[in-house]
Amino acid sequence: MIPTQHVLILSAVLFTTGVLGVMLRRNVIVIFMSIELMLNAVNLSFVAFARALDSMTGIIFIFFIIVVAAAEAVVGLSIILSIYRNQKTLNVDEFNWLKW
């Protein structure tokens, strides 16, 4: 059986990758995907803990995270869509009307 630590390390790596992705990528959709990656990293760590602790709570939590992530994705994509319609770009650097 894979030790819990290894799963946790993988989850941490995935999470950090997600964070870096949010900060480095330029395309809004890719950034959004990075955020989903972060959430899934969390899911992974929940699974690992749930298995290690032999408890169902973690699993239930994952269900909700998945659903919430989906809802966020739907809302996010709608917003992105409406932005694209107005501005014809998905480059985050160009969305800086609001500043200072």
């Binding site: 941490a12 990758t17 239930i60 014809k88």
Partner: protein, 119 residues
Amino acid sequence: MLATEYFPILILIVLGLVFATVFTLAGILLGPKSRGKDKEMPFESGFASKGLVGQRYDVKFYMTALIFLIFDVEIVFLYPWAVKFRELGWFGFIEVCFFILLLLVSLTYVWKKGALEWE
């Protein structure tokens, strides 16, 4: 001291950072960068592209995709019930009926709003 106990986590963070940075950089540095005409072309399942790159799809596509996404994922809540169907008994059944009812209401809402209309 505390710091020693936290050492594994520090390693973990460093590892995370290193891995993430390495992979990201590797992608940028090692990946072939052919910026030819073909490369710039949008990928359309191997077919030669038709029309303009910036061609806009009908909003219906997105609409349907989004609705599919949300309804699809809601199904996840049926799994625990399905697994423990017998133990949960009538109570569980009623609960799930409520849940389905709510989904139905939202489906009706979406329908009435015209999000499912293709034309």
